[in-house]
Amino acid sequence: MRIRTILRTNAGVWLTLPLTLLAVAYIANFTRSADPYPVAVTAAGLAALGFVVPICAALGAWEGGRLRRGGTWDLPTVRSRYVIAGWALGPVVAAGCVSVVAAVLTSTLASGVAVPDWRPVLVAFLVVLAHSAAGFALGILVPTALAVSGSLLASFVWMVFLRGLDPMWLRYLNGGAIELCCDISTDLAPSAVSGPLVVAIGLLAAAGLTLATTRAGLQRRALALAPLLVALVIGSMLVSELSAYPAVPRDERQLLCSDRDQIRVCVWPEHEPRLAEVAGLAAKAWAGWRAAGVSAPTHFTEGQDGVPPDVLRFSFAMRSSPSVIVSGFAYAMLPPWPACADFGPYLGFEAFEYVHAWYAAHGGLPEDDLRSMYQASSGPDRPPVIELVDQVLAQPLDVQRRWLAANVAALESCEMEPQLSLSAPNS
């Protein structure tokens, strides 16, 4: 077919611009990622897949329906039927891919990332292709009025409703849930890429076999669905280990480190512009805690490597204020959440804010920021955080350390009462 004819008649060509504008408008209004992390901001652009893919499926069905209504598909042809389908589907797939690229670029450029991560984009392209081909096959098989609406509805349900089903890993079969990836300390899980890729290839193969068996009997046509079923089984096996987010820990070798005043601070490459500032804050916090007689690790890291208390794990965003970063250091000094708290009462939890405020105050958090952070924090059976922490900070350091040790011990166990006064444990 002549290119000019395709441009004049194909629904995909006509709808490329509106679909692209919709995708851009949708993604442009999303809350920006605070960090220029390519995989995360690229994945965020895939949120538009939920409507781009169904519309491509419907456009594919429309193009298939045109060949069916015109009787062209049933005529003897010189060219392969796949070539004919390719000419009809090309603009539709192109419309979907252009929309995906526009959505992804909207997301990445707004976060300062020039080159998107290729993995989410590859999945999106293949999902667009597979759904368009499936829609086309449906358009060849059933009347257009059913095919267009049916493929749009089925594709929409598949892309959107898997996220509401249990088990949770079902959401990864359609490729759309990649948009949930990732925070800066994680990377896209390989199975979150391979799973939807396998399913999309299975759908594509099923659509191809359906086109090859349009004149065959019902049994052979039903067999055309076999690749999809096999792909669903393999895809399910691939993604069944994934939890709520399609992420794995990021390669620690990417961390960039600074050694200053005996303190080693490691951050992810996206945070490099603030490494010197963070290293200064870390040195100041470490010195404050040492001056208070508290032991603190000399290794501050955004990675997961190492075991506290040998390392202090923290995280921040590019737009985090220095106070937020210091507050993060203080949180990292708190003992880990005890396993017993998941199954029963956790009496020590009350001490959480008081101990954090004490670490933050000694770690260099400005007094005004500490007060604004805990201004409204109090409870019916406990004193206001600021009031008690002010009293503690006014005491000699050995008294402060005893108070701290009592509350840290309460935080580490579930049965121990916290000491929410300077004199004796709360009852």
């Binding site: 419907a58 929409f156 509401g164």
Partner: protein
């Protein structure tokens, strides 16, 4: 009448209506979280709200099954039968779901019932606007766009997203009823509209083009 019922797949339509009701009762509470504009929380979209799209798709298809050339010479009021049958199907599904909701068997029955009426109205308007084949997709396209663009910053449906709001919102029922009234009128006057359309085409210059 029998031939009309067979041509229009009335029995299949009744079957699809029953399936929609069962779907809303059994699986209607399954909820998708759709990423909403400028919102940390996604829009919660229960399956029940879109289940009536199966009905609008089926009746949309059933209205394309006749032979327009033959039906243009029919002595029976085909347009009236068509309009009455699809509107009746929507009202019947809506009534059944409303009763099941009131009885506590369908969590989103009233909303689904309202949407059944509105979707059929959109279908009929879509048929008049973009033709019988593309018209069937109009309610689905509207729902997809409402789902992705109809939520506010808190992830709640905006006032104009009539198919997503709670059934207690009277305005959403008004929209549904207006849609079906307008769509029904367009479908009912289809033969007249077609004649006017052909007349206008014949009057276009150059004549006989």
């Amino acid at each position: 009448m029998t031939l009309w019922a067979a041509t229009r797949r009335v029995l299949v339509t009744i079957g699809v209506s029953a399936v929609v009701v069962v779907l809303v009762v059994l699986l209607g509470a399954i909820t998708a979280s759709i990423p909403a504009l400028a919102s940390a929380r996604g829009l919660a979209l229960p399956l029940a709200l879109i289940a009536p799209l199966a009905l609008s798709t089926m009746v949309g298809y059933s209205l394309t099954t006749g032979d327009p050339a033959v039906e243009s010479t029919a002595v029976r009021p085909i347009a009236a039968l068509d309009t009455a049958s699809v509107v009746l199907a929507a009202l019947a599904v809506s009534a059944a779901l409303g009763m099941l909701d009131a009885a506590g068997y369908a969590e989103y029955g009233a909303e689904a019932g309202r949407n059944a009426i509105g979707f059929v109205g959109l279908l009929l308007i879509g048929r008049a606007a973009v033709g019988p084949n593309a018209g069937t997709a109009v309610p689905v396209i509207i729902v997809v766009l409402l789902a992705f663009f109809g939520a506010d910053a808190a992830g709640e449906p905006r006032w104009w997203a009539w198919a997503l709001v709670d059934s207690a919102e009277r305005s959403s029922w008004v929209v549904s009823l207006v849609l079906v009234a307008v769509g029904g009128s367009l479908e009912l006057t289809r033969p007249v509209a077609q004649r006017v359309f052909h007349l206008v085409r014949r009057l276009r210059w150059p004549p006989g083009r």
